[in-house]
């Protein structure tokens, strides 16, 4: 059963704001980390010389042909993982608000993302 947030206690609202603050830190940190990793990787690639290199696989990042390739691939992974974690945070946030419709929708999105990883792994 949904609960009207206007009737939530101050403690509940404070808890939701706390979760939102965590989400904010998560998103900004993820974006910053991804940008730094990709910038370091691109710079390293330019310095060490650009050579044709094989693609990097998600589950074999350690097999990247060089450290710049590893940095760039890790940066892309962090960038992709950040909104995925945001969806997980939404599940937590809406659960605390007891907004079950949106908890269900967010869970479907999480399952879709999980399925994408499993399909890719083959």
């Amino acid at each position: 059963m949904d609960v009207d947030p206007l009737e939530m206690s101050a403690a509940d609202q404070a808890e939701i704001h706390r979760v939102q603050r965590i989400v904010q830190v998560l998103l900004r940190s993820g974006l910053a980390a991804a940008v730094v990793l990709m910038a370091v990787g691109v710079t390293g690639k330019v310095i060490t010389g650009v050579h044709a290199a094989p693609a990097v696989k998600l589950f074999a990042l350690g097999d990247a042909p060089s450290w710049p390739d590893f940095c760039m691939a890790l940066g892309v992974l962090v960038l992709a993982a950040t909104p995925a974690l945001r969806v997980l945070a939404l599940v937590v946030l809406w659960s605390r608000e007891r907004d079950w419709h949106f908890v269900g929708v967010a869970c479907v999105v999480v399952m879709t993302l999980t399925l994408a990883i499993l399909v890719g792994r083959g």
């Binding site: 949904d2 609960v3 009207d4 947030p5 206007l6 609202q13 939701i16 704001h17 939102q20 603050r21 989400v23 904010q24 998103l27 900004r28 974006l31 991804a34 940008v35 990709m38 910038a39 990787g41 691109v42 690639k45 290199a53 094989p54 693609a55 990097v56 696989k57 998600l58 589950f59 990247a64 710049p68 390739d69 760039m72 691939a73 940066g75 892309v76 992974l77 960038l79 992709a80 950040t82 909104p83 995925a84 945001r86 969806v87 946030l93 809406w94 608000e97 007891r98 907004d99 079950w100 419709h101 949106f102 999105v109 993302l113 994408a116 990883i117 399909v119 890719g120 792994r121 083959g122």
Partner: protein, 199 residues
């Protein structure tokens, strides 16, 4: 690249909690609201934002440009779902973002404010994009040296766009949307005629 925009929009959305004061949380710097049924905050005057009607696609956001609270309620959800299905199919077939279809569908069909539609479209595209990214990445189709420089370039543009969106009028945003739609239409027509501008 769509993922970057989504992260920036969401980071900006979450950013309003930085403005927390004694009386609660202000949304004075709430640049990119996302269509949502919950997750409220309050205006500088202490009015609740986005708390209404959990479980429904309705809400409100503080518009910096107008200096006022804007309430909305999405209608014709079936139409939105149908156009999103079409947008996904077109995006998958042609390699173009589906935002140019989803944003008009939300603003004209579902009666959602254009700023909410833009932010919602970014979030939708970001999540759907990472689903396919994980598949391609896991199968070894990702070339970091092609992806990373482009991603870095888009970060700057997405940041400017997300911040600018909250400062300009909905009318200006609509004209920008019209210009983008015309450009996409011209590009697609030229492609169909076999004209490649990239050569």
């Amino acid at each position: 690249m769509m993922v970057i925009t989504a992260v920036l929009v969401e980071a900006g959305r979450a950013g309003f909690v930085e403005e927390a004061g004694e009386g609660g949380v202000t949304a004075a710097h709430h640049p990119a609201p996302v269509l949502s049924g919950g997750s409220g905050s309050t205006t500088p005057q202490g009015e609740p934002i986005g708390w209404e009607e959990p479980g429904t696609l309705a809400g409100a956001f503080y518009d910096d440009h107008r200096g006022a609270l804007v309430s909305y309620r999405a209608v014709r959800l079936g139409l939105g779902a149908a156009v999103s299905l079409l947008a996904g199919a077109v995006s998958g077939m042609l390699g173009v973002g589906g935002g140019f279809l989803k944003v008009p569908a939300m603003t004209e069909g579902m009666k959602v404010p254009i700023k909410v539609a833009a932010a919602t479209s970014n979030f939708m595209i970001g999540v759907t994009a990472i689903a396919s990214l994980f598949v391609y990445f896991a199968r070894g189709y990702l070339h970091p040296y092609a992806a990373a420089p482009v991603a870095l370039g888009v970060v700057g543009g997405a940041l400017v766009g997300a911040v600018t969106s909250s400062k300009v009028s909905p009318r200006t945003l609509r004209w920008i949307l019209v210009a983008v739609l015309v450009l996409v239409a011209v590009q697609m027509a030229l492609k169909a005629l076999g004209v490649d501008l990239g050569r």
